[in-house]
């Protein structure tokens, strides 16, 4: 059983959205859609699950807060407590108010950078990676839908795409 890959190009987002919704409803697997800008609702229409990247940011943030706490406790309280300006370093909780700013900054630093690094790795976007869009016009004004299907369904899907407003259809 051979697989067919269809690239359908749309000129506007409304026909793209409508086609994506009707194809998805009929159980056609839309592998991906390449668009010049974020089309709201398209991710849900083709069944992209909600990203968990915000959860990773939260975990990185907690890590940052813990690392900052540990660092300041070790350096100011445990390793070499000093009395600076009449503010002795007896215990962590006593000095804690003065540690809040750096704890906060460290939380933000780790959450932001951790999340962004995760994002680039998860999307596999790195300097030197080959362009992922199959057609260069999709970063300008064209919308490209990639459909993977069985050879025998090809004709049916193509006519649905044409009726839905696709301006070009290519086979890969």
């Amino acid at each position: 059983m051979s697989k067919a890959v269809i690239h359908a190009i749309f000129d506007d987002e409304e026909p793209l959205m409508a086609s994506a919704k009707s194809l998805h409803a009929q159980g056609v697997h839309i592998k991906d859609v390449f668009t010049p800008f974020p089309v709201h609702g398209l991710d849900a229409a083709i069944g992209v699950p909600r990203t968990r990247i915000a959860i990773t940011a939260f975990i990185y943030g907690l890590t940052g807060a813990s690392l900052a706490t540990l660092m300041m406790w070790y350096m100011m309280i445990s390793d070499w407590p000093t009395d600076i300006g009449g503010k002795p370093s007896f215990a962590y909780y006593m000095n804690m108010p003065a540690f809040i700013p750096i704890t906060f900054e460290s939380t933000v630093l780790c959450a932001a950078h951790g999340m962004v690094i995760t994002y680039y790795l998860r999307c596999w976007m790195l300097p030197g990676v080959k362009a992922k869009n199959p057609d260069p016009r999709t970063t300008d004004d064209k919308f490209l839908m990639v459909i993977e299907t069985k050879e025998e369904n090809k004709g049916n899907i193509e006519s649905m795409l044409k009726n839905g407003g696709a301006t070009e259809i290519h086979h890969k």
């Binding site: 859609v33 390449f34 940011a57 350096m75 070499w80 503010k87 700013p101 994002y119 976007m125 004004d141």
Partner: protein, 466 residues
């Protein structure tokens, strides 16, 4: 699709297709630079080089070449540091706070404003790194294991908080800016005709393709970064203000400083965005994207933050009188009537009185007036920092330490140099980077574009007629 009320003015003027937006944004990058661009770049580079010369002289000889002295030991360095870092705040406010508030007008200006933030923080960093006196030992600011028997940095000190705040702010702003740039670099890559440009933009675009999954993650990352940057930007200038507020110097030891500094920062930052964008929209013909409405919105932010700053000045005066502390009272009397009264007068005129003129719609929609005002505001905000620092330090508790301050040519040289550096980087940015976040802008054509709004309004009228 999103719908926007007809009574809101369109954010994109004219009849623009997606392709036309691409063409408009990419024109300065693919076309030849105008002679004005070369002229401005030459002037900026000359200032920049003069600054590098003064910087080298300072490092080679020591900060004795500055005008700072025993009483006034903080002067131009910290004034300029606070001024630059304050300017930077508008970029984050536009890209993060306005994103959280879903203000669509941010999309035409956020890219340039964020670039401004990054360059301004770089300028600010030069002053803090230099004012330590021995900049080759600046790594001592970081909590590194050392040969002095594990003598650590002091985490109780606001100066230490500053190290963490400014470095976090710079790196997070840079990452936020770059993540937004990636799809636009991909657009330039995909249409580049010259192989070298294709190669360079290809590397910079990280292989972005605009997949629905990637856009989905992109939007989530932008939202979370905005959520993180919003408290970050408020924390940075609050922490900068604690450099003063946690001291026991009369005139500095005030709890009003953090909010007052943040408002002042946003105030001066928006003024700088206006200075830059009024020129950019003219030179690169972006009047359809950075419209008069955008300018007006920014001027409204200037009225709000300028008024907060004005109220803060008056509150400071009232509280110093009401406190009954004679040192506190003298500090403020000295600012207004002492040897630097002219700096105080300049600050009050530029920051309190002049922004109130923007209550007139005629004035806040006038480009020439706005441009002049944007420069006046930044002069005023520079004087604010000068007034807080120099007149205070030249008249402290012990009258025998009282002395005057005047900047040396090196002080002026380094300051001029940072202005040159800022404009050099900004001019290069406008030439090689997409000045407007075109991908985001394309997403609002159908809701905020003039053509679509008019069509929609007609549709309604038609329906009502029947």
């Amino acid at each position: 699709m999103q719908h926007e009320s007809e009574i809101r003015e369109p954010l994109i003027l004219g009849k623009k297709s997606y392709h036309e937006i691409t063409e408009d944004i990419v024109r300065p990058i693919e076309g030849k630079a105008s002679k004005y661009w070369y002229m401005l770049l030459t002037i900026s580079i000359i200032c920049f080089l003069w600054g590098i010369g003064c910087l080298a002289y300072t490092i080679g000889t020591g900060i004795g070449v500055w005008g700072s002295n025993n009483g006034v030991d903080w002067a131009f360095d910290i004034t300029n540091f606070v001024w630059w870092i304050g300017i930077g705040h508008a970029g984050t406010l536009i890209s993060a706070v306005l994103l959280l508030f879903r203000q669509k007008w941010r999309m035409a200006i956020n890219r340039a404003a964020e670039a401004m933030t990054i360059f301004a923080v770089m300028c600010a960093a030069i002053f803090v790194l230099l004012h330590t006196g021995r900049p080759w030992l600046d790594y001592w600011l970081f909590p590194l294991p050392n040969q002095f028997g594990s003598l650590w940095v002091n985490f109780n000190s606001p100066l230490m908080w500053d190290v963490f705040a400014v470095s976090t702010y710079f790196s997070v702003s840079l990452v936020f800016w770059y993540t937004g740039l990636v799809p636009d670099f991909a657009m330039i890559r995909d249409r580049a005709a010259k192989p070298l440009a294709k190669k360079i933009y290809g590397i910079m675009s990280f292989g972005w393709g605009g997949s629905a999954r990637h856009w989905h993650r992109f939007e989530e990352v932008s939202l979370v970064l905005a959520g993180l940057s919003t408290p970050l930007v408020f924390s940075v200038h609050s922490i900068v203000s604690t450099d003063f507020a946690t001291s026991v110097v009369p005139g500095w030891h005030t709890t009003i400083f953090p909010p007052y500094f943040v408002a002042g920062a946003v105030f001066s930052g928006f003024a700088m965005v206006l200075t830059l964008l009024i020129i950019v929209r003219k030179i690169y013909n972006l009047e359809n994207y950075i419209t008069i409405k955008h300018i007006e919105y920014m001027n409204i932010v200037i009225i709000v933050t300028g008024s907060i700053v004005g109220v803060a000045y008056l509150t400071e005066l009232f509280i110093s009188w009401y406190s009954g502390v004679e040192y506190e009272q003298y500090a403020f009397l000295n600012r207004a009537t002492g040897p630097y009264w002219w700096a105080y007068a300049a600050m009050m005129t530029c920051n309190v009185i002049s922004p109130q003129l923007f209550w007139f719609k005629k004035l806040r929609t006038n480009l020439t007036f706005t441009f002049i005002m944007s420069i006046i505001v930044n002069i005023g905000m520079w004087f604010e920092r000068f007034v807080i620092i120099v007149p205070t330090l030249c008249r402290t508790f012990l009258p025998s330490t009282w002395n005057m301050y005047s900047p040396s040519f090196v002080d002026w040289g380094i300051y001029t140099g940072t202005i040159g550096m800022f404009f050099t980087f900004f001019l290069l940015f406008t030439r090689y980077f997409p000045v407007i976040a075109q991908a985001e802008l394309k997403s609002i054509v159908k809701s905020s574009g003039q053509e679509h709004k008019e069509k929609h309004a007609h549709g309604h009228a038609h329906a009502a007629h029947h």
